[in-house]
């Protein structure tokens, strides 16, 4: 569903973070973009989510060039959860989730709240509805942020380092949770945590210095990395 052609991105200071990258992500429930720190994963994610514009190359979402898409329909098609999550601290969990549907879809508040509750229930965090972000744990916040993104029913969700704030146990819980999450949405998960990638994803790719080292089935990729 995502196809990338000859993508290159160079920061203003001359750092070339992505080097002539070509890949087609298969439609996969969870696809992992792996790589060590500084390999260009976040840069790639920012390109795919249109927050930065690559100097060269094209990105297609279901055969549409994303930079030619209308912003609103693009944002509705692709959700992003940043590493810092950026939950809105002045709103309850429920309000965090209803803001975009209310404003973008003009859904009335009551309906939006009902569907947000349904979503929270599906994600197993209904009890958090009236909590403020400062009152929930790191693992719960991660789920809320994903839930907030899922409210617009995007075709694709991009998660940047979802486990960076979690310890080993909650990481394992989270990888099971996201795996079992019933969703019409495909996930691209950016992570440097190979163990998490192995438990959560079925396919993936490994980046190094802005280039793809290996891609395919997760076990194959990881075997290749360990050998190399």
């Amino acid at each position: 569903m995502i196809k990338i052609e000859n993508l290159s991105y160079t920061y203003g200071d001359g750092t070339q973070a992505i080097k002539n990258l070509n890949i087609s992500f298969p439609s996969e429930h969870i696809f992992a973009i792996m790589g060590f720190s500084g390999s260009g994963k976040t840069t790639l994610l920012n390109c795919i989510s249109r927050f930065i514009k690559p100097q060269q190359g094209k990105i297609f979402l279901d055969n549409q060039n994303i930079f030619e898409m209308d912003v609103k329909s693009f944002r509705e098609a692709i959700g992003v959860v940043f590493q810092a999550l950026n939950l809105f601290p002045h709103m309850t969990v429920l309000e965090n989730m209803t803001l975009a549907p209310c404003r973008l879809r003009r859904i009335n508040e009551k309906d939006a709240k009902n569907s947000a509750r349904e979503m929270l229930e599906r994600l197993g965090i209904l009890e958090l509805a009236d909590h403020y972000p400062s009152q929930v744990s790191g693992g719960q916040a991660q789920r809320v942020a994903i839930g907030r993104g899922l409210m617009l029913k995007p075709r694709l969700m991009l998660l940047d380092e979802p486990t960076s704030a979690l310890d080993a146990r909650t990481t394992e819980d989270f990888s099971h949770w996201i795996r079992e999450l019933q969703s019409d949405t495909n996930f691209i998960v950016v992570t440097h945590d190979l163990e998490f990638a192995r438990t959560a994803a079925s396919k993936g790719m490994f980046m190094s210095e802005g280039e793809i080292v290996e891609s395919g089935n997760i076990d194959g990729v990881l075997r290749h990395i360990k050998r190399g």
């Binding site: 944002r75 950026n86 939950l87 601290p89 803001l99 972000p133």
Partner: protein, 478 residues
């Protein structure tokens, strides 16, 4: 030791006194010779029996008594009265002579034995509720034709309708018919005329200007000057001056320039204070509302200072710094006198701009403390730029800015006191006008302070509570 010092202290003045007496006294040393014109009732004049009488005459008598000397009064023309003194024809002039720098060059003056000056009088019932000359705009105020008060009023109070009448008698008639709101004349002369005519007019407000009346002596009469000063101060302390004053000017006050209460009852005072405070609060409310409204775009402009907005941002930055770096008082005077705005709009605009600049800083601090990821996340959710600001950025920035915004509100309410300077009848000015009648500054300034505090204190408490509530919800200032 002690004994010797006491001896010395006694000896020196006694010795000096005898020397001075021997050398300088023109008249015989047991006479106190004074001069006056006898043409200035009620201060000095010839009464029906043809005898010299008046305030100055009584004061001269009392001083002579205290000097333990025989009083001899010389009458002379005003024109040559100082020359006569210098020529040694008399020891002192007790003739209601105002102390002026020019006169001081040739003679030495005693401490003032009374003060007078231009005073406004109204009817005791005070139908127009006038408590100071400032409240007479548009009213008819009378003066006697040819007296300097006419020019003084026309020059300093152009809003007053000055009515010139031939004499005090016609002024009194017009007052009784309520065809004029008040009149201006010399304070003491006015009091005496009112008393003589049996009218119920009272002085209100402070004197428009004052003159201090002293007793001139020759420059070499230091000893006499000291004795006269001592006598005057004794007369003030032991009530003699008061008694003489009452004799001529009625039971309305004492010689040092105090004034009658002018029928200012408690309800009038309360009404004035409340009205004044209402104006204070109205000005504060309008200025703060306006200021807050404009502080948001101003604060935004201070933060978003790149691209197209770089130049406007820089200009606003300069403007905000300028306003914050200059006294509000000067800004008020500039807008009022410099730009010639009417007092009320000048106050609202000046304080409003101040509020805008101070609050814009608070807004700016709030905006920059919102994590940049917040805007990014809102963008990722597809919110429009307006929605991002309205629902995500502004609520957070506002919460962070709120405590300092509240502090600004308190400071601005207090700053409203400054507009009294541009003659808006707000609380301070009303308090001053009450004080000019009641002479109780301690009381009314305290009341005014408490009225301010009654409003600012809850605001300060509220600000503290909001701050704690915000922190409890996980917001922090940094």
């Amino acid at each position: 030791m002690c004994f010797i010092m006491a001896m010395k202290r006694l000896k020196v003045p006694v010795l000096l006194m005898s020397m001075v007496c021997a050398i300088t006294l023109s008249a015989t040393s047991d006479e106190f010779v004074t001069a006056l014109t006898g043409k200035f009732p009620p201060f000095n004049y010839y009464n029906e029996g043809g005898d010299l009488a008046g305030f100055d005459v009584d004061v001269s008598r009392e001083i002579a008594k205290r000097l333990k000397k025989e009083l001899r009064i010389v009458t002379t023309e005003w024109d040559g009265i100082i020359a006569g003194l210098l020529a040694g024809k008399y020891d002192a002039i007790v003739a209601s002579m105002a102390i002026t720098p020019e006169r001081k060059q040739s003679v030495n003056f005693s401490e003032p034995y009374y003060r007078s000056g231009a005073q406004m009088f109204v009817h005791r019932d005070n139908p127009n509720h006038i408590y100071s000359i400032d409240e007479c705009s548009g009213l008819r105020i009378a003066v006697v034709l040819g007296e300097t008060y006419q020019q003084f009023l026309e020059k300093n109070y152009p809003d007053i309708e000055v009515v010139t009448l031939k004499s005090t008698v016609s002024i009194f008639e017009m007052m009784e018919q309520q065809r004029i709101a008040g009149f201006v004349t010399d304070r003491l002369v006015g009091l005496w005329q009112i008393k003589n005519a049996g009218r119920s007019f009272v002085p209100v407000g402070e004197m428009l200007y004052t003159e201090s009346i002293g007793i001139p002596v020759r420059k070499d009469s230091n000893k006499l000057l000291k004795q006269i000063n001592r006598s005057i101060s004794d007369m003030k302390v032991d009530g003699t001056m008061d008694k003489i004053y009452q004799k001529y000017f009625g039971t309305v006050g004492v010689a040092e320039g105090e004034s009658a209460v002018g029928g200012m009852t408690f309800s009038i005072i309360a009404n004035k204070l409340l009205k004044g405070f209402a104006i204070t609060l109205l000005i504060a409310f309008l200025a703060i509302s306006l200021g807050f409204l404009f502080s948001i775009p101003t604060g935004l402009l201070l933060v978003y200072n790149s691209g197209f907005w770089a130049l406007p941002s820089r200009i606003i930055r300069m403007f905000v710094d300028f306003i914050r770096g200059t006294p509000v008082l000067i800004q008020l005077l500039f807008v009022w006198l410099g730009l010639g705005l009417k007092a009320f709009p000048a106050a609202i605009i000046t304080l409003g701009i101040c509020a805008m600049c101070y609050m814009a800083e608070a807004v700016r601090a709030g905006l920059i403390s919102v994590a940049p990821g917040q805007a990014l996340a809102a963008r990722a959710l597809g919110l429009s730029s307006f929605d991002r600001f309205r629902f995500v950025i502004w609520p957070q920035a506002f919460r962070i800015a709120l405590p300092s915004l509240m502090n600004n509100v308190v400071a601005l309410i207090k700053d409203t006191a400054l507009v009294s300077i541009i003659s808006i009848p707000e609380l301070i000015r009303e308090a001053q006008s009450i004080i000019s009648v009641t002479f109780e500054p301690h009381k009314y300034y305290l009341i005014a302070a408490l009225m301010f505090f009654a409003v600012t204190f809850p605001l300060m408490k509220l600000s503290g509570r909001i701050e704690r509530a915000i922190q409890a919800k996980g917001f922090k200032h940094d």
